[in-house]
């Protein structure tokens, strides 16, 4: 783990070190979102995953997400680390930490970050099941972009 607030790494993510990055004397709240590898999705059983990324652009886009959160909450501190490579069930894929003076903002910032990652950050997941493998496309639970592409307005943010 390094001092970088927005990072793509190949090693396991140390949750504590991400949280430490956003500590602040005027933070009363830190919200942390941890994305883990789930075994069952509907009826399908995942054996393991592989994440790949366009690393320099992905780190830039993570930093952009941090700036977007700070536009709304100027006192927020944000750190995001995403892991790439082969991950097994229960391994941590991403850790987001957002500190703010008041708790509601930390929840909102952290939620915004994970949705935004699924829109604009060039990271891809390949699922390996018992009966095959597939690169997963747009995973937005919200289905904001049914065609899998952020729209023009989003990209210019």
């Amino acid at each position: 783990m390094t001092d970088k607030f927005f990072e793509i790494i190949e090693r396991p993510i140390e949750i504590d070190s991400i949280i430490k990055k956003v500590e602040d004397r005027n933070a009363g709240a830190i919200n942390t979102f941890i994305g883990t590898v789930r075994e069952m999705t509907k009826e399908k059983k995942t054996l393991y995953l592989k994440y790949d990324a366009y690393i320099p652009m992905a780190e830039k886009k993570l930093a952009q997400i941090g700036s977007e959160i700070q536009e709304k909450f100027p006192e927020a501190k944000v750190a995001i680390t995403h892991r790439v490579g082969e991950l097994k069930i229960s391994d941590i894929a991403v850790v987001i930490a957002v500190s703010t003076p008041h708790r509601a903002d930390s929840f909102e910032g952290s939620r915004y970050a994970i949705e935004r990652i699924k829109e604009i950050v060039p990271i891809w997941k390949k699922e390996h099941w018992e009966d095959g493998e597939e690169w997963i496309g747009d995973q937005l639970e919200t289905n904001a972009y049914p065609d899998g592409k952020p729209d023009k307005e989003e990209l210019e943010k």
């Binding site: 366009y54 060039p122 990271i123 690169w135 747009d138 592409k149």
Partner: protein
């Protein structure tokens, strides 16, 4: 020379992560078409976003020698 990066199923179906074009100027849309011509098996190039020098760009934007272009299939991080 223009470097073009391919990821995920683009990389897999083309068979390499990087290809090069020896032109001075070309639009993103034209690169997309050229990849389809050169690699008929390529999958998902139409639904991929393009980026020039690590920023998203639309099909009408011009790419110049020395630029780094990337085609980015629908992302699935998190």
């Amino acid at each position: 020379m223009i470097r073009i990066l391919l990821f995920a199923e683009l990389e897999e179906t083309v068979g390499k992560r990087e290809v090069e074009l020896t032109v001075d100027e070309i639009s993103v849309g034209e690169i997309r078409k050229k990849l389809t011509d050169d690699y008929p098996n390529v999958k998902g190039i139409q639904s991929a976003m393009a980026a020039i020098n690590e920023e998203y760009a639309e099909d009408n934007v011009l790419v110049h020698r020395g630029d780094l272009v990337a085609f980015i299939p629908p992302v699935s991080g998190g």
